[in-house]
Amino acid sequence: MLLQILLPLAEALPASDPELMAEEAPRLEIGQHFYWHLGQFDLHGQIFLSSWILIGALLSIVVVGTRQMGRKPGGLQNLLEFLWDYIRNLSRDQIGEAAYRDWMPFIGTLFLFIFFCNWGGALVPWRLVRLPSGELGPPTADINTTVAMALLVSLSYFYAGLSRKGLRYFEYYVEPTPIMLPFKIVEDFTKPLSLSFRLFGNIMADELTVSVLVLLLPLLVPLPMMLLGLFTSAIQALIFATLAAYYIGEAVHEEHA
């Protein structure tokens, strides 16, 4: 639907001004992927390339920051400790004192990975690298990435609940009354759906808006939208991590504890 609206628009706009139709004229590339073929499977290469670059950046910050850690923090250690503290508070608030330690790395990884993908996608000038088809961009603007993470969250909260409470976990479905059963079952499907589509939609929409604005008026006008995009990107990372922690916390929550 969106494609049907936007692609003709993208093709129509530069064509209306033939002098701008140089080889370097901006194009709107939606839903085009740089395919890798692994045996009989297809992969979105641009997603992996940009995610490897961003993971590399994340890991290098972590490695450099944790090289010389002392009791008195300085430089990057401050930043890392701030992040660690932030993630600990987030997971402790949502999951609870008893179980947050097991899940903090997962929640933190989700937060950091999504945050780096979102901001990296917005701040790194990916367009400078040209691919045969498609373009580099935030990995979180691809539905595969967000669904993968949302499904991981689903698996995590099932695992968290089952490993902590055993089969008693399923009492959760009939609490406080058995009337809740169908709703709770539907919830198990809507949780990953909403998680993945919220993130994907926000990042994709930001990319699209900025792209269209750049296409129409390349100077200054897209800047407020880009700033707004940075803001929503950070918020989306926080929301994803908070909701993931909340779902896990819900699964490990003891009613009478």
Partner: protein, 155 residues
Amino acid sequence: MICWFPLAEAPVPEGGLFDFDATLPLMAIQVVVLTFILNKLFFQPVGGVVEEREGFVATSHKDAKERLAQVQRLEQDLKAQLQQARQEAQAVIAAAEDEVATLHKAALAEARAEANQQRERERAEIETQRSAAGAVLAEESRRLADLIIQRLVAI
């Protein structure tokens, strides 16, 4: 154009926004692997440092509190001792004052008694001297009277 990857000859898929393919499981694996890597490189070491520091701060705080309590106890002790010493000094002073007062009274009484005694003695002596002088005067006046009588008789 740079050749990014040895691309196998295969039909290029249609594409699209909602194009699910093997990217999904591979990305999931990638995130899980990243979780383990970050746990080893970030969460464990940073958590260790932060928790070590929190422990250090907590024990230092407890230590300081204990020391403060000890100082307060010692201060209380010293104050009590000071109070006691003051009271003792007060008692000593009072006793000394009492003693001085009794000594003073005794000395005064003794001196007064001695003075009285002396006065009595003096008075007695004066009395004897006066009576002696009286006797001498009486003798003299009798002799003069006799003399007068003799003279009158002789006339």
